[in-house]
Symmetry: C2
Subunit: 257 residues, 2 copies
């Protein structure tokens, strides 16, 4: 029987403000057993880039990463945000280790090919190093993963944090019983986006398709759920979409195979 | 018999310029066996701080680290410089892992007490985690250590890279036969600072004291040699002061017990 592993993905907003970060670190520290934290940091990156006179250009919600922007995200995600979380978890007795994909070759990616849009130094994940991550986790180490990978040729690449979490969950499902928790600013997938109490408690692929056809689920929620079903289909035991303040509560929307 | 371990400390200038960085990474990759790279990054920190409108204040060659400066050095040392080196080493087949003192509690420090000068968020090393570093190294992982530690209470602390290298060397001398190499911009300790060919090939404590009394060795060289003798006295097998371009050559000044 596989050991359990919980992978929590939190967005930039939660980890960039002291009050919400402290709450998250307390909640995350309280999770028993094997765990991984994957974080964003986009708001800080935009702010620091702006102070450095670098304009942040977004297409379809994704950051265009030119050479100067790559430096900024490497600093902000891999340094400022990641180390702040690691130090905070260590203070709470969690043996955190900050990782980018370059560290111990944890995640190798390939620079996204230019099609309609040139995203620049953005990585599409090719391989998650199951052996190295598995060894660390089984020793009680808690990886704190920044949304950065490398191409194996010496270049860091900016990589979406949802993707890091999803690909890591899929790869580690070979050796762990994985629960993947996507945190965001809503209580779950809502039937009515204006009613926070309209959380859909669980959803199958067929139900998802029906909700999309009806227009109940739309916009940015669609790729998030597509990612979730992809994870479930690749062997992840459970995917949950919930509030970051609810990672220890049995709330949110469960994605069911 | 203890396994050998080589610890190389390089300053910011070497790792911040592409040509010298590539040369260093090639030379470091060529070192056989167990190894650690400790790096600085002060020039980049000063440059980024300046772009962000934060003035860099130095006292006795040390950076006064206020809260904003701490953010800058955490970004620059832990993110930009560290990950660039890690990705570069991975491309050369070295299984590099970037670490600050917070990661896996590798190095815990205490905020320097305020005496004549308030250095701010600067850490004096209290404990190097020999067990965790030893385990990694024996598995073939190559730590790449940024000049940052943590206080165990959630705070990162800025910590001199020479100190990181020296304290790590001393602590790991318990389980390894350690050679510590301090790289700097001269070929070694010089008898005549204007003559690069006047390298003192080896130096004992008694000779050092005599050179200081004669005024041959002075200025910033004195604390560097004091650190070196401290390492030798604490069980480090060999300390070498040399050029970063000479880490694979039998050059520079050897510090002898």
């Amino acid at each position: 029987m596989k050991e359990k592993l919980v992978i929590i993905k939190v967005g930039g907003k939660v980890v960039e403000e002291e009050a919400t970060l402290n709450q998250l670190l307390n909640d995350f520290a309280a999770i028993q057993g094997n765990k991984i934290l994957v974080h964003g940091g986009g708001r800080s990156a935009t702010k620091i880039a702006s102070l450095l006179g670098i304009e942040s250009q977004m297409v379809n919600g994704r950051r265009i990463t030119d050479a100067e922007t790559l430096k900024v995200v490497t600093m902000v995600y891999g340094g400022l945000v990641n180390k702040n979380i690691v130090a905070g978890l260590q203070a709470r007795g969690v043996n955190a280790l900050g990782l980018t994909g370059a560290d111990m070759n944890a995640i190798r990616s390939v620079k996204r090919p230019v099609k309609d849009v040139d995203y620049g130094f953005v990585g599409d994940v090719e391989q998650v190093n199951v052996s190295i991550l598995g060894d660390l986790i089984k020793k009680g180490v808690v990886p704190v993963m920044a949304p950065l990978t490398h191409d194996g040729n010496g270049n860091m690449l900016n990589t979406n944090a949802d993707t890091i979490a999803g690909e890591t969950a899929k790869a580690l499902a070979d050796i762990f019983d994985v629960t993947l928790v996507y945190c965001f600013e809503k209580r779950g997938v809502l039937k009515d986006e204006n009613d926070d109490n309209s959380v859909i408690p669980q959803i199958t692929r067929a139900e998802f398709d029906a909700y999309v056809a009806q227009g109940v689920i739309q916009g940015g929620m669609i790729p998030k759920l597509e990612n979730s079903f992809s994870a479930i289909n690749a062997g992840v035991s459970q995917v949950v979409i919930t509030l970051s303040s609810a990672i220890n509560k049995n709330e949110g929307t469960k994605i069911i195979k």
